[in-house]
Symmetry: C2
Subunit: 440 residues, 2 copies
């Protein structure tokens, strides 16, 4: 039914458009209807102009078959810290209210060229740099946060308002909303996708992130962004005989009952399907990784927010003022040591991760907390952002209140495609047998 | 004489404006006259609108004394890979001809807030990423290159068309033009100044660079950009008893007679003034630093130029097409190893550098070569860009043809202010006794 098109994945929609079964306008209309019906409850959008979306859809329909790109007509929600030349980019900052330079981020240039329909801009915490939630509500429970800072993209994809979304991650801003909204979230290897035109918080940490409701859709995006491993991923990966590890990491005391139970279940499911799951730990010398992350974050933030501090320090979060004023008195020596210590850890952790088909680790402590004022705890994501490894949140589990909980799969740097291939098989099992029921 | 104002340094002009001796309009007029007289010979500008410059100058003159910033009325030339909201930003790329989004780079926001007069946009090689020279000629000999990729900023400051300039460095793009144009060039510690709104080539290498004709002017800019060391720099540094080292590096075979003689003279001068100069070398395990730099450059360029490749691959340099297509077949394994090996080298090299007041190393092989088609050799700069250390080019020496040659002083990361303080004293000696005579 044409009115249900919004429920399809990008891959499914793409097939229908290619086959001439539906037009991009049909599809866009279905999405816009879904958004109109759900926007009051979810409020995922910082900017969305339905008339302009239809105008773009019409233009896409006018492109001859032979000139169409691989994402032709596929809609994507864009986090409002990524420049779009035809829509405002406001960073959830009063300094940038109605800010609309005629500039596309590098990622948007690539997506447009591939034929994507840029649907609108989604909410974010201020500059994707604080944990103060925007107006957005979790689609699965309006009394709960969708997470952050990629709040709107996570909620929009979770609520079937868009099949694909762009987020960013400096701490846990892509993976956490992925878990809270019950969707697949992919933080690729650092700098595997250009960050041109994406607001800077910390250069060595910031990573563009991708949302979808299927791994095939993430693979479509990985193709578009030319993310390739040295070795093509396995096409026949099966759980029978596969080798996983469970890594609780040094922040395990932050775990809640929801994620703990989800990890137990995940482990049982993998074993039941014939895989081995070994419990591993990181060398103790890496116990300070979260502290090193915090040090690098604050000291790179000191550089990043000096412009806003200079022009309007009363209009930026105290958290960011603190970075610029270096309120934690982080010395340059400490900054450089943290930066170097993380660098030393990367190849060693890669080597450990490389021994397995993938390593399981929590995405979050538990299901999305009540309230939309705070976006939740990023503790389990931080170290992977610093280590530059690809991470994929796989949905499928439920918390005490029936809210979604995901598990992270991690692989060594630039093993993104292998991780996607493994995640596809794992995701099928977790989604089917993990126990979470999607109700939206 | 008001007509000679263009010859002053930023610090000198600032004092005159503060004292009410001259207006910003007087100063801007003098610079515009200089530019009008010299532009045909030098061609440093990608965009400059004299009427708009005067309009800005008038607006600055209207600001009450109490509200004026530390750079009030000081003109600065901006490399055309850095966004300016009121001028085009064209990257010397046909893809971006007349490109003019209403966006200021973070550095420009800070400069404007400090009261700087954004004079115009200066020429660059394509995306600051190739060695194919733009139209610009060396002010000291129009038959020679001003270097690159910061060609226009280097030439403009060298030719007294602007007291200050912004450049960038991914290989040797700030330091090389500094040497070729006979000016001070400062590549600060990586990420000490925000790169927001500066075109990306390689995230882990790209650094904003600063040009001036005096160290005091660079200190003024360092203040503006809030670059601080852990320990305030010495205020009474003298060469008597100071400790320097001479580091020829693994690329010493690239040296020419000009820079070799300049280094000999520099060493003699420092010794004659009571300093010690010890010859040191890097551990052999770092001999591959230039190769690691090349590997990281190409593989990060693969990510950076995918957007331009996607939309107009026939309009970008074959060099950049080669990055995107990975024509050198650099594996992800090699990419990650190069990235990590550079990371491992940083603290060790810092420790070595930290034993001296500063370390001398060549800026370039020799004086600016004949022809403007190629921008010269960056061999001596690459490793410092990769190592993230601050580098300052100090002018004062001359090649066989009377063209300027500078020497680099290097210090550990985030010892930028100490390096400036040392360079001030060293620069006075090199400029006075080094033998180069400025003729423009």
């Amino acid at each position: 039914m044409s009115s249900d098109l919004y429920r399809l994945t990008a891959t499914e929609v793409s097939q229908k458009i290619k086959a001439g079964e539906i037009s991009v306008q049909d599809y866009a209309t279905s999405l816009l209807n879904r958004i109109a019906a759900r926007d009051e409850a979810v409020q995922a959008w910082a900017y969305l102009d339905p008339a302009y979306v239809l105008e773009q859809a019409k233009a896409l329909d006018a492109i001859p078959q032979a000139e169409r790109g691989p994402l032709h007509g596929i809609a994507i929600a864009v986090k409002d810290v990524i420049f779009t030349k035809d829509m405002p980019t406001q960073f959830n900052s009063p300094i940038y209210a109605n800010n609309a330079p005629a500039l596309d981020a590098g990622s948007i240039t690539i997506l447009r060229k591939a034929g994507a329909l840029i649907l609108g801009k989604t909410t974010t915490t201020e500059f994707a740099a604080t944990t103060v939630g925007p107006k957005t509500r979790n689609p699965h429970d309006p009394n709960r946060t969708p997470g952050g800072s990629s709040s709107g993209s996570g909620a929009a994809v979770g609520d079937f308002q868009a099949p694909l979304g762009l987020g960013t991650q400096t701490g846990g801003s892509t993976i956490r909303p992925g878990s809270y909204n019950g969707i697949y979230a992919f933080k690729p290897t650092w700098n595997a996708i250009t960050r041109e035109g994406q607001k800077i918080y910390a250069l060595i940490l910031d990573t563009l992130g991708l949302y979808a409701r299927s791994i095939s859709d993430l693979e479509l995006l990985a193709d578009t962004f030319a993310i390739f491993d040295d070795v093509p991923p396995p096409t026949n990966f099966t759980l029978q005989g596969a080798k996983f590890a469970l890594l609780k990491t040094m922040v395990w005391p932050s775990i809640g009952p929801g994620a703990s139970a989800a990890l137990d279940k995940a482990t049982s499911l993998l074993r039941a399907h014939g895989a081995s799951v070994e419990e591993i730990s990181l060398p103790e010398k890496f116990n300070d990784l979260p502290t090193w992350h915090a040090t690098v974050l604050a000291s790179e933030g000191r550089t990043a927010f000096l412009p806003e501090y200079a022009i309007a320090k009363d209009q930026i979060s105290p958290w960011l003022v603190g970075h610029v004023e270096n309120c934690d008195k982080i010395s340059r020596k400490a900054q450089v040591e943290a930066f170097d210590n993380i660098s030393f850890a990367r190849p060693e952790v890669d080597e450990l991760l490389g021994k397995y088909d993938a390593v399981l680790t929590p995405s979050v402590p538990d299901e999305a907390p009540l309230g939309i004022e705070k976006t939740g705890n990023a503790a389990f994501c931080l170290i992977w952002t610093a280590l530059h490894t690809p991470v994929i949140n796989i949905p499928g589990f439920a918390g005490e209140n029936g809210m979604p909980i995901g598990i992270s799969l991690v692989a060594p740097r630039y093993h993104d495609r292998r991780l996607l291939a493994v995640s596809k098989v794992v995701g099928e099992v977790f989604e089917k047998e993990g126990g979470w029921e999607r109700k939206v």
